[in-house]
Structures are given as structure tokens and as C-alpha cells.
């Protein structure tokens, strides 16, 4: 009888485990798959206890330097298949167990992201777009990040204050999305920080010029936009590093590519009936081969 009860309990637990697998919809081999829209982009991966303890120690130092009252910290190593990187994410808690900050660290310890949680626009005197640079630089120093040059400063509703960005440049061209960006509350106190430094492909030995890129884009527009191409005109041609995407290639992966490529960004603006559906379109032309790397649309 005793054996039967034990067996029953074991089978009950097995049943629960099977049901739980169905409930979370995760198979054992799923972690190796590329990101697919609809799924989660980050998944916990195994890390040694001392690695997680180091991340928590870094979060303790970072939150203290940024003036966030975190008293305890919990780290998880995540594999982010949308961003193509593995990082340690640390949640910081106050004395009441309330989440007060999230920090992310690259595996070499570099700060990748930090944000103070909650909506706290600050009680101090509001700073202007000039004075806000000084506290932003102080935040980067507190996070151990080096920035140089004049940042781009914008008021930001999403940050409920200011966005101060130092865009990364390589081979004389901006690297779209990369660099250091600091979000501050209106009074200049810390809200958020992000740093992106993605791999770049080799600069092509021979590159096409702006005129060749424009001609290629004009030719592609006829195919891509059909009859509507007559209602679109080119308003700029600029060189930049971009993450190739599947905007014009449905067979491509659901996440932007991991390695950025040097491209000519040909921007079209629409008018007439087309503008009621599509305001602007960008075609990203490979600066070396002249092939289409992807693009973007404003609807």
C-alpha cells in the first residue's frame, strides 16, 4: 500500500511536469532556435553562482553610484535572440522588496542598460537643454562609460524628461542605434541609460557613390512600389551603418541582423494618395555591392 501511494505521488508529479511543459509551451530544443515573432526574445541560460554574484555586486555599485536605493539584487543570465547577445540582468529591490531598478551587464562587466523604475519626475528645479549635458556626462562616468563630443539632446515624453545621446561613428558614418544614450528626469536626475556597440562588417574595399546608390534605389522603387512609385520622391541619400532587416524580404529572419553593414540610406517621401498609407520609405543599399539590405517605412 505504502509503495502504491509513493508511486501514485511520483506519477502525479510526472503528470504535473508534463502538464507544466504544455502550459509554458517550451520544448527542450527551443532555446537553440532563432527568434520568431510571437515568442519571447530573451531566455534564462545557465550561469555559475560566482558569475551571478559578480553581476549582483556590479549592480550594487552601479545603483549606489546612480543614487538608486537598492538594498538587495537578483541576477539572471539571459540569452537575447532579438538583440543577439547574452547578458546578466539584475533586478534591484528596496527594503520593502519593491523593484527599484533593472541593470544589464555584458559578460565582460560593461554596463549595457540601467533604468530606475517608477515615474518620479523629480522635485528639483528643471534644467534646460544646455545644462542637462553635465548630469548626463556624470551618469556615464558613474557607469564607467567613456563618451566624447557633443551629444544630441532632445526632450522626450517617453523618458518624461531628456534624452541625451552620443551616437557611435565608424569610418566617418553614424552607426544607427549604437552609442550611449542617457534618459534624465526634468530636474536632471537619473532615469535610464543604454549602451549599444554591435559588431560591424568589414568596410568594403570598393564602395559605390551616392549617385550610384540613388540610381539603384530609383530602379528598385519601380519594382517595390509598383505604380505608386510616381508619388514618391527621393529627399536624402546618406551613408550609415545599419542592421540588415527583412522589410523587403519576407523570407528573412524576424530580428534585425547581428552584424551591421555600411549602406547608403535612400529616403523617399510620398505625396498624394500614397501619403495616406505610406509617409516615407527608406531603401538601404549596400555601400559595397549595391544590393538591397533592407529598409524602413513610416506608415
Amino acid at each position: 500500500m505504502h509503495t502504491t501511494v509513493l508511486r501514485s505521488r511520483r506519477m502525479a508529479l510526472t503528470g504535473l511536469a508534463i502538464a507544466a511543459l504544455f502550459a509554458i509551451g517550451a520544448g527542450p530544443g527551443q532555446a537553440a532556435d532563432p527568434f520568431v515573432a510571437g515568442g519571447r526574445s530573451s531566455r534564462p541560460v545557465a550561469a555559475q553562482a560566482d558569475q551571478l554574484a559578480r553581476a549582483e555586486s556590479r549592480a550594487r555599485a552601479l545603483t549606489a553610484a546612480l543614487g538608486i536605493p537598492g538594498t538587495s539584487h537578483r541576477a539572471t543570465r539571459l540569452d537575447d535572440r532579438f538583440e543577439h547577445r547574452v547578458y546578466d540582468e539584475v533586478t534591484s529591490f528596496d527594503g520593502d522588496g519593491r523593484e527599484v531598478a533593472i541593470s544589464r551587464f555584458e559578460l565582460d562587466g560593461t554596463v549595457a542598460m540601467a533604468v530606475g523604475l517608477g515615474w518620479r519626475p523629480g522635485t528639483g528645479r528643471a534644467v534646460d537643454s544646455v545644462d542637462v549635458v553635465r548630469p548626463a556626462v556624470a551618469v556615464t562616468r558613474a557607469a564607467g562609460l567613456a563618451v566624447s563630443g557633443q551629444p544630441e539632446v532632445r526632450s522626450s515624453a517617453g523618458s518624461s524628461g531628456w534624452s541625451i545621446a552620443w551616437t557611435r561613428r565608424a569610418d566617418g558614418a553614424p552607426v544607427r542605434g549604437d552609442g550611449v544614450r542617457v534618459l534624465l528626469w526634468p530636474d536632471g536626475s537619473f532615469h535610464g541609460l543604454t549602451r549599444s556597440d554591435r559588431p560591424l562588417a568589414t568596410v568594403p574595399t570598393r564602395t559605390i557613390n551616392a549617385g550610384e546608390a540613388r540610381a539603384t534605389a530609383e530602379s528598385l522603387a519601380v519594382t517595390l512600389f509598383g505604380a505608386a512609385h510616381a508619388e514618391a520622391r527621393i529627399i536624402s541619400v546618406e551613408r550609415a551603418w545599419i542592421a540588415p532587416n527583412d522589410t523587403f524580404g519576407p523570407a528573412g529572419p524576424d530580428a534585425p541582423a547581428a552584424t551591421l553593414r555600411l549602406a547608403w540610406i535612400v529616403r523617399f517621401e510620398s505625396r498624394g494618395a500614397l501619403a495616406e498609407r505610406l509617409r516615407m520609405v527608406e531603401l538601404w543599399i549596400d555601400a559595397g555591392s549595391g544590393s538591397l539590405l533592407g529598409g524602413d517605412v513610416v506608415e
Binding site: T4, A19, S42, S156, V298
Partner: protein
Amino acid sequence: MSRARWWRPLVPPLLAVVVLMTGSAATAMAAYPASIDVNTSAFNPPCDGDANPIVPKMQAAAKAAYDRLGHVASAFTGAAFTRAATLKRTPADWGYYVHSHGDYYWHATDGRRYTGFREDSGDCNQAVVYSKDIKAKRLGRQSNLVFISTCHAADSNTTMPDAFAIEKTKSSDGVNQGPEFYVGYIGVQWDSDEWTFEQRFWNALAGGRSVGAAFDVAMLGAFNAAGFDANWWGTYGWSGVAGPWTTCRYCS
């Protein structure tokens, strides 16, 4: 063990499975519907010469996210996403997501502007769904998560939150305005940045973050446009789970 009782050891595991499956079914039957309206025709053939896969990706991500939050989420596009169909469904919806062309549209009859977005309708002649149309159907009933993935949906003068009875205030630190949260974009934004923002938002929610924390994490993406911006109103600390308040440790 006698032949007549061979099935008895199987009862506990079967019961366990039944309990869990009944739980899932119960969640589904709690019926907090969410509609996912996505305009694909405007950016794909026949209205556009090429196929644009970003929009279907947004649809798949939003539907999965609302499902994870406990909604009974249904996705509509093409001829299934019309002004009439949206307005017919909206009184029952607790959650709503739309990706389309949006603006602060002139309403000739009223002689004023309202925030709105275009239906899909499966063709290239797409009517505007004004916020006032939605408001007239919902009559102030409770909304949960409302994500208007269009241009101008979160401009300071937007009239769309009011259509879903979401006050344009930010509640945080123990203050709450109910289980509701409105997200939208400011000005005109590029699809690739919206996709990055949305994926980060949905992923953070799936990881158990509050809607406000998920917004803050989403704002720190690697956006192509330096001027990318979004905004929110609602209860920062809310979990995003479908339905009326259940438990909210820090916001009730």
C-alpha cells in the same frame, strides 16, 4: 494489484493534468477579449508593389502577448479589419492593439480633429476610425492594455485614451487609476523602431515586469531614429493581467 484496480495508480497524474487543463480552460472562459487589428493591405499588394513582413510580425507578437496576459485574443486584418467590425467588437474588448496609419484627422461634420487610424478593409480605400467612434461604442467601460501602434497616437493632444476611458495621467508609487495602461507613439515613427520597441515591451511583460517597467525597458532599445519617442498613461505598477483588479501589491 488486482486486475480490477490496474487503473487506480493512474488517477492522481490524470487528475493533475485535468486540474491544470481545466485551469487553462477556465482562464479562457473568463473571457476578457482583446482585438488585434492590423492593417496589412496598405503596405502590401495590392496597394503596394512588394510584400512587407514587418506588419504580420507585429500582429503575431501582439496576439501572443495578449494571450499571455490572459486575454482571449483574436487577430484581424484584410477584409476582417474594417471600421464597422472594429466598432462592433469594441464594447466587449478589454484589451486592444492596432497597427495602422494614424493621424489627428479632421472630422468635417464636427468641425474639429480627433485622433484616429485607418481600417484595412482589404483594399486601398480605407476609412478612418475616429476616437469619437470608439468612445460612442464603449461608453466609458473599463479597458486594460491599449496599444495604439500608429503615428500620433500619444501626442499631447491625442483623444484616443479617452475613447478607452483611460485618463491621461501617470500613476505610480502606490497610486493607481485601475488596471489600465495606454501606449502609443509620438509624431511619426519608423516601423523598424516600433518593432524593436514592441518586442522589448512584450518580452519584458512576459518576464513578469509591470507595464510601466516594460515601457521603461522598451524605451532603451537600439533605435535607428534618434528622435524615436513613445508615451504612456495609466498605472505604472500594474501587471497587465486581463480583467479587473485581482492582486497588485504596490498599486492598490
